[in-house]
């Protein structure tokens, strides 16, 4: 998994690629919680277009980040979910709790 951050005005976009699993999800979790809890970025957007695989530990990291965003009054937004990622979120019955858009333009629009 690779993570690259782009910082716009009050928005940070994380471009994530590769597999989010037991080995890599701690890095994702740490990056997201730092962005939300320490930097208090008002909107954190995850670009998942290039994520090939996500497991329950990856979903758990997203849920923890979502809870942190609610705690600090930020928004956590996902976009670019491919079929595999979407299926795993559906399987977890947690897709409904996330703010999900099709593309980046929708995710960063005011």
């Amino acid at each position: 998994m690779q993570i690259a951050a782009r910082r716009l005005d009050k928005i940070t976009i994380f471009d994530i690629s590769g597999d989010i699993d037991l080995a890599t999800s701690p890095e994702l979790r740490k990056g997201l919680l730092r962005e939300l809890r320490e930097l208090r970025t008002p909107r954190v957007v995850l670009n998942l277009k290039s994520v090939r695989y996500i497991d329950s530990s990856g979903v758990a990291s997203l849920v923890e980040a979502l809870k942190a965003s609610r705690d600090v009054g930020s928004r956590l937004i996902l976009f670019g979910l491919n079929r595999t990622v979407r299926d795993v979120l559906q399987l977890s019955k947690l897709a409904r709790i996330f703010e999900i858009y099709e593309d980046e333009a929708q995710s960063v629009s005011p």
Binding site: S56, K67, L94
Partner: protein
Amino acid sequence: MLCVVRQALGQLAAGLGFSEAECHAVVLAVDEALTNIIRHAYRGNAEQPIEASFHRIEAAQNGQRREALEILLEDRGPAVDPEKLCGRALEDVKPGGLGLHFIRECMDTVEFSRSEGRNQLRLVKFLNVQGPEKGS
């Protein structure tokens, strides 16, 4: 290491005739099972041995003999407490506890047993299961 297993298993399942969605389901289930073994049986130590075997079998489902993929995973960790194999209520929005739910949703048979100091997990996925796919 898990990514290597995922890739190999995906190719194996595709070679046996599973659809793309079914291949993803099998890969997810086995990945979650291995993750659970590493996390819970081996307390995070990924260097401990896990034995995996894969068999093309015929088994009964709804009174019919069907072809299936059988996967056996064995670890040498402490005995698993059956009460901890219940998963959790999905209404609880909280991180963690999803792995077992994923395994049960993705596979047709999930059986835990303990024999000769080893935990054994048996997973079965039937080929050409008719009706709506699980998780879709």
